[in-house]
C-alpha cells in the first residue's frame, strides 16, 4: 500500500497564495521549508548527491509551476514528495537508454564498504542510503518504489515500463544484494 503522509504538516495558506503570485521570497520560504526533506527523498533515487540535487532542482521548478493544481486536500509535503519521486522516475527513464547498466549485472563494490564501519551495531541512515545508492538504477527504482513508497508490482511495472515478473525478480535481487551488504557491514562493525 502507498505510504500515508497525512502526518506531515503543510505551509500556511498565505504562503501558498504568495507563491502562486510568483512572490520570490515566498517561494524561497517554501523551498527552505521542504528542501532538506526533499533532498533526502531525492538521494534515495539518485546515484550521487549531485544527481539528487538535479532532481531536487527540477522537482521544485515543477512544484512552483503546478502549484495552482494543488488542491490543498492532502498534505503539501506529500504532494511535493510525489513530484520529487516522479521527477526522479522521469530522470531514470531519460537515462534508461544511455548509461543504464544491465539488470543482471552484479555490483562488485556492493560488498562491505569499509568506510561505513564505524563500530556501531545499528546501521546509520546514511549507510543504508549509500547501500541503496550502490544498487543498479533499475534495482534501486524497483526497491524504492516497492519498499519505500509501497507500490505493487503491477504499478511498478507500469511506471518503469517493465513486466510484473521482472519487477518481482529485480526486487528479489535487490533485497539479496542489500542483505549481503548489511551482513557485511555488521561483520565489519563487530571486528
Amino acid at each position: 500500500m502507498p505510504q500515508n503522509y497525512s502526518y506531515l504538516h503543510g505551509p500556511n495558506e498565505q504562503l501558498i497564495q504568495k507563491c502562486l503570485k510568483n512572490d520570490r521570497a515566498a517561494q524561497n520560504a517554501l523551498y527552505k521549508l521542504y528542501c532538506n526533506k526533499m533532498l533526502g527523498v531525492c538521494m534515495w533515487y539518485a546515484k550521487s548527491r549531485e544527481e539528487a540535487e538535479e532532481i531536487l532542482q527540477d522537482g521544485f521548478i515543477k512544484v512552483f509551476k503546478y502549484l495552482q493544481s494543488y488542491s490543498g486536500k492532502g498534505s503539501m509535503e506529500g504532494w511535493i514528495r510525489k513530484i520529487m519521486v516522479n521527477t526522479a522516475l522521469l530522470k531514470y527513464k531519460g537515462k534508461k537508454n544511455s548509461n543504464l547498466r544491465l539488470v543482471t549485472e552484479l555490483d562488485e563494490d556492493a560488498m562491505l564498504p569499509a568506510k561505513y564501519a564505524d563500530g556501531e551495531s545499528n546501521l546509520a541512515e546514511k549507510q543504508l542510503l549509500e547501500l541503496v545508492q550502490s544498487l543498479t538504477p533499475v534495482y534501486r527504482m524497483v526497491f524504492n518504489l516497492f519498499v519505500l513508497e509501497g507500490f505493487k508490482h503491477k504499478e511498478i511495472a507500469g511506471l518503469l515500463g517493465i513486466t510484473e515478473g521482472t519487477s518481482k525478480s529485480n526486487l528479489s535481487d535487490a533485497r539479496a544484494i542489500l542483505q549481503q551488504k548489511i551482513i557485511g557491514l555488521q561483520k565489519t562493525a563487530s571486528i
Binding site: 533532498l39 534515495w44 540535487e53 494543488y70 488542491s71 519521486v85 541512515e125 519498499v147 507500490f151 507500469g158
Partner: protein
C-alpha cells in the same frame, strides 16, 4: 522463515531511514531554481506580449486605414467643392440651393444673385482669386490672404485665421468666399453656424451645418450567453467522443467579455467601429472515462481541443486503457478585434440607436482545463491542462450589435449594447469535432467623446 524475517526487518530498516533522512542542498540549487523560474516567466510573458502586440498592430492598421481613407475622401470632396464654386462663379448661373456632403460636414451653398455676370461683378472676380488661393493652401496656415496679412506674419494658426476671415467676410459681401471659408472651417472642426445675413440686401441666408467627427470611446462589459454548433464527419454520433457525447457532457457556464470600442463617425449616419475586447468563455465538463490511444496518456477531449493526461504515479498506459475523471472546468480566453460598420437609424437630442455589423478576429489567449483524475494512490489527483491541441490560434466571427446610447452630457453617454456573434470558421482545426460557437451578449458601458 528466518530469511523472510530478515527481509522484512531490513525493509522496515530502510523505510525508517527513508523517512528520517534529510540533507541540506547546496546554495546553488536555489539560485538555479530562481534562474529557471525567471526564464519560465520570461517565456510566459513574452508569449502574452506577442499576442498583445499582434492585436495592437491590427488595431493600429485599422485606425490608420480609416484615417487615410478619410483624409483622401476629404481631399477629393474639397477639390470637388472648390471646383464647383469656381464653376458657379464663372458661369454665375442662377441656382437655388445645393447640398454638398462629405465626411463630417454638410453645407448648403448660398444662392448666387441672379442676373449677375463675371464681367460686371467685381466682387465675384475677387472671390475667384481668393478661392484659387485657398485651394492651393487649404492645409497650411493662410499666410498670403489680403485680409490676414498681419496674422500670417505672426504665424497665426489656420483656425484663428479662418475665424478672422469669416468675421471680416461677414462684414463685407462675398457669399462664395464665405462658402469656401465655411468649408475649411468645417474641416477644422469649427462648428458654429455662420449666419451670413449681412451680405447685402438680396444675399440669401446661408446655413452651415457641420458634424464634427470625433472618436468615441466606449468602455463596456457584457454578460455572454454562449453556445456552439458541433460538426463532425462521422454519421455515427453515438461513438465515444462523438459530437453528441461531447455536447452531452459539456454545459456552458457564466461567460463574459469586456473591453473598449472605438467608433468613428464617417458621415451623418454611417460609422466605423473597432476595438479590443477580452472574452472569457467557461464550460463545465461532467465526469467521463478517458481512454488511451497511445503511450502519452489518457486522451481528454473537449469541444475545443484535446490533451493527454496522466496521473503522477500512473504507469505508461497501454492502448485502450482507461481512467476516470471528475467534474472539470474549461476556460477559453480570447482577444477580439472587431471591424464593424454602424448605421444610425434614430437620433435625437438624447438618444441614438445604431445597429452595426461586421467581422471580428478572435485571437486565442489561453485554454485551461481543471479537473481531477484517478490517482495512482486511488484518490483524485488535480490536473491542470494549460494547453489544448487542435485549437486554432485565430478564428473569425460575424458580429452584430445594436448600440443604444443615452446622452448624459456634452461628451458622455451611457451605452446599452445587445450583441450577437457567430463563428464563421471553426475554432479548431484538428479535433474530433468542429466547433462553431455563437453567443448573445448584453453589454453595458460608458461612452466618451475623445
Amino acid at each position: 522463515m528466518p530469511m523472510n524475517k530478515n527481509l522484512n526487518e531490513n525493509d522496515e530498516l530502510f523505510r525508517n531511514a527513508y523517512q528520517q533522512f534529510e540533507a541540506e542542498p547546496g546554495p546553488d540549487v536555489w539560485k538555479n531554481i530562481q534562474a529557471e523560474l525567471n526564464g519560465v516567466e520570461t517565456v510566459y510573458y513574452k508569449r502574452k506580449l506577442k499576442r498583445i502586440k499582434q492585436a495592437s498592430v491590427i488595431i493600429i492598421a485599422l485606425l490608420a486605414g480609416l484615417n487615410i481613407y478619410q483624409h483622401y475622401y476629404n481631399r477629393q470632396a474639397k477639390h470637388a467643392i472648390s471646383g464647383k464654386i469656381i464653376d458657379n462663379v464663372k458661369t454665375l448661373k442662377p441656382t437655388t440651393s445645393q447640398t454638398v456632403k462629405s465626411p463630417g460636414y454638410e453645407t448648403k451653398t448660398p444662392v448666387a444673385n441672379a442676373g449677375n455676370t463675371n464681367e460686371n461683378n467685381p466682387v465675384a472676380e475677387q472671390v475667384k482669386k481668393n478661392l484659387a488661393e485657398v485651394r492651393e493652401q487649404h492645409i497650411e496656415p493662410v499666410q498670403n490672404s489680403f485680409v490676414m496679412a498681419a496674422q500670417a506674419r505672426a504665424q497665426v494658426p489656420m483656425q484663428a485665421a479662418l475665424r478672422n476671415r469669416l468675421t471680416l467676410l461677414t462684414e463685407k459681401t462675398a457669399p462664395p468666399l464665405s462658402y469656401a471659408s465655411n468649408f475649411l472651417a468645417g474641416q477644422q472642426g469649427l462648428l458654429q453656424p455662420l449666419p451670413m445675413g449681412g451680405l447685402g440686401k438680396n444675399a440669401p441666408q446661408v446655413t452651415v451645418r457641420t458634424h464634427n467627427n470625433p472618436w468615441l470611446l466606449t468602455m463596456y462589459a457584457s454578460t455572454d450567453f454562449m453556445n456552439y454548433n458541433l460538426d463532425d464527419d462521422d454519421d455515427d454520433n453515438r461513438r465515444h467522443d462523438g459530437k453528441d457525447e461531447i455536447r452531452g457532457r459539456e454545459h456552458h457556464e457564466f461567460s463574459f467579455s469586456a473591453g473598449i470600442l472605438l467608433k468613428k463617425q464617417i458621415n451623418k449616419n454611417i460609422s466605423f467601429k473597432t476595438g479590443l475586447i477580452y472574452s472569457n468563455n467557461a464550460i463545465g465538463i461532467r465526469p467521463q472515462t478517458l481512454y488511451s490511444d497511445n503511450t502519452l496518456g489518457y486522451k481528454y477531449v473537449t469541444s475545443s481541443g484535446y490533451s493527454y493526461v496522466k496521473p503522477i504515479f500512473g504507469g505508461v498506459p497501454a492502448r485502450g486503457d482507461s481512467i476516470n475523471s471528475n467534474m472539470g472546468q474549461h476556460h477559453l480566453q480570447y482577444a477580439i478585434i472587431p471591424a464593424m460598420i454602424g448605421y444610425t437609424v434614430f437620433a435625437n437630442r438624447y438618444l441614438s440607436v445604431t445597429p452595426g455589423a461586421g467581422v471580428a478576429a478572435n485571437i486565442l489567449l489561453s485554454t485551461k482545463i481543471r479537473t481531477e483524475i484517478e490517482s495512482g494512490y486511488g484518490g483524485g489527483e488535480p490536473v491542470l491542462i494549460s494547453k489544448l491541441q487542435g485549437v486554432r490560434a485565430v478564428y473569425f466571427s460575424m458580429q452584430t450589435n445594436v448600440e443604444l446610447q443615452y446622452k448624459l452630457g456634452k461628451s458622455t453617454s451611457i451605452t446599452l449594447l445587445p450583441s450577437f456573434m457567430y463563428a464563421i470558421n471553426s475554432i479548431n482545426n484538428n479535433n474530433v469535432v468542429k466547433t462553431y460557437p455563437y453567443s448573445f451578449g448584453l453589454g453595458f458601458g460608458i461612452t466618451r467623446r475623445l
